[in-house]
């Protein structure tokens, strides 16, 4: 579902991504762990067709985000570390707006059920400005799922969440179906915190200084082993 090969991206003289290659199959979850500045957000933005790659090839849901940007956008749900919500609109109005932009069918029904699943049904008419961080995150997830995307891109989904909210997110992500539709979604999650990456059953890969430093295979599934490898990868970057 997601295929990245030798992806490069520079901002002026600064090279954010230097030859990233990995793939995520349909229904899989890959956690990309890396320190700040490793290029995680840059990578997510390219996959979401918000940014153009400098080199290499990318395929998301079978389409090239540069050539078929609309097709990719239709099939991708993006959770940014910013909520992407209008503070002066209510939760429901936010979903209705995005639903119209995505051309979602049966919009009001879908909005209602998504709000219910997010536990926001009783706050649907309140302005997003009045929501807590955790509630905004839940609404943002609902927004990302609104158009039933095949691919979910989560960039630092745990940022700013307290433990309870984080647990709720864990639960939601552990269920591979993740709300309506009934079909498996492909999930790429980026985070700076290895523990978040380990709390899911999927694979873990390390993104350090713009490249993939390691990808867990079957032999190093054990969390402790993964932690060791991650420390090594970070240390390796320090020496550079």
């Amino acid at each position: 579902m997601i295929e990245v090969c030798d992806l490069e991206k520079s901002f002026g003289v600064r090279q954010a991504l230097r030859g990233v290659s990995f793939s995520v199959g349909e229904g899989e979850l890959l956690a990309l762990v890396g320190p700040n500045g490793a290029g995680k957000t840059t990578l997510q933005r390219i996959l979401a067709a918000l940014s153009k790659p400098g080199g290499g090839s990318v395929r998301v849901a079978g389409f090239d985000p540069v050539v078929d940007a609309q097709e990719v956008r239709r099939r991708v749900g993006f959770l940014s570390h910013r909520p992407l919500l209008y503070e002066d609109l209510s939760g429901e109005e936010n979903l209705l707006f995005y639903g119209r932009m995505y051309g979602v069918a049966n919009l009001s029904q879908r909005t209602t059920s998504l709000l219910a699943r997010a536990g926001l049904a009783n706050r649907r008419d309140d302005l997003v400005r009045t929501y807590s961080r955790g509630m905004k995150q839940r609404l943002a997830i609902a927004r990302a799922l609104l158009h039933d995307p095949a691919v979910l891109l989560l960039d630092e989904p745990y940022a700013g969440l307290d433990r309870r909210a984080a647990e709720r997110l864990d639960a939601a992500l552990s269920d591979p179906v993740v709300t309506l539709g009934g079909r498996p979604r492909t999930v790429l999650m980026t985070t700076y915190n290895l523990e978040h990456g380990l709390s899911h059953s999927g694979r873990v890969a390390f993104l350090v200084a713009g490249t993939i430093a390691h990808e867990t295979g079957d032999e190093d599934r054990h969390p402790d082993r993964t932690r060791e490898l991650y420390e090594a990868a970070l240390a390796g970057q320090g020496e550079r």
Binding site: Q70, E71, L85, E87, F97, R100, M101, G103
Partner: protein
């Protein structure tokens, strides 16, 4: 058509936001009135000279007030991170441009609809229905470029100052034409005399709408 629905969704959203906060329209409107008042005092407009200076005063009021609304157009999106939200949607970038343009036009028209009659009354001017056409076309040209530049200045420091600096040299023909047309209509000049200005205005609108539509995606892409 999905594009039209997307465009309309953006307009609805902006109108809803405006209805909640009322930041844009009220400040634009008050500012426009202030400009007219300030000019009235500083130019010491008596009856005879009023008619001469009036068209200029009107359009300065419209453009300065319009500037306020335009600068907020994309800044509000950017501050709430919603510009990315818009760009994520599977719509052509031009849909975002036109959606924003229409919202800006609505806000400017609302202000102008209140300012214009007040202005006509204040200066005791004759009202000509053709004036409405001039206001619409002039605002259209101004807003077309202004919407694009508003998106441009989102990524700059001192955004509110940047916009007028960039905008005025480019929209000067609109202002000149609009003022001349207004003046011509107010003192009853024959149509043949002022028709060239109408052609300039329409020409500008057409050319720059096309140009801005083409350039918009380069401004928002990364």
């Amino acid at each position: 058509m999905q594009s039209l629905r997307g465009l309309w969704a953006i307009v609805r959203k902006d109108l809803a936001l405006e209805r909640r906060s009322q930041e844009a329209v009220s400040s634009m409107f008050i500012f426009g009135l202030l400009v007219i008042l300030v000019f009235s005092f500083s130019l010491d407009l008596r009856a005879e000279s009023a008619v001469q200076a009036a068209p200029g005063v009107l359009w300065v009021a419209f453009t300065f007030a319009g500037m306020l609304g335009l600068s907020r157009s994309f800044i509000r999106e950017r501050d709430q991170g919603c510009l990315d939200g818009l760009l994520l949607c599977p719509v052509d970038r031009s849909v975002i441009y036109f959606g924003k343009l229409v919202s800006n036009l609505v806000f400017m028209f609302v202000c102008e609809a209140i300012i214009l009659p007040l202005f006509v009354a204040l200066f005791n001017l004759p009202f000509r229905p053709a004036l409405l056409a001039v206001v619409v076309l002039g605002t259209l040209g101004f807003a077309a470029v202004g919407t694009l530049f508003s998106a441009l200045t989102v990524h700059t420091r001192a955004r509110e100052v940047m916009l007028p600096v960039l905008l005025f040299p480019v929209v000067m023909p609109v202002i000149i034409a609009a003022v001349r047309l207004t003046a011509g209509l107010l003192d009853g000049s024959p149509w043949a005399e002022i028709m060239q200005w109408m052609r300039l205005l329409v020409g500008f609108d057409v050319i720059f709408l096309a140009l801005c539509y083409m350039c918009f995606e380069y401004v928002v892409e990364e």
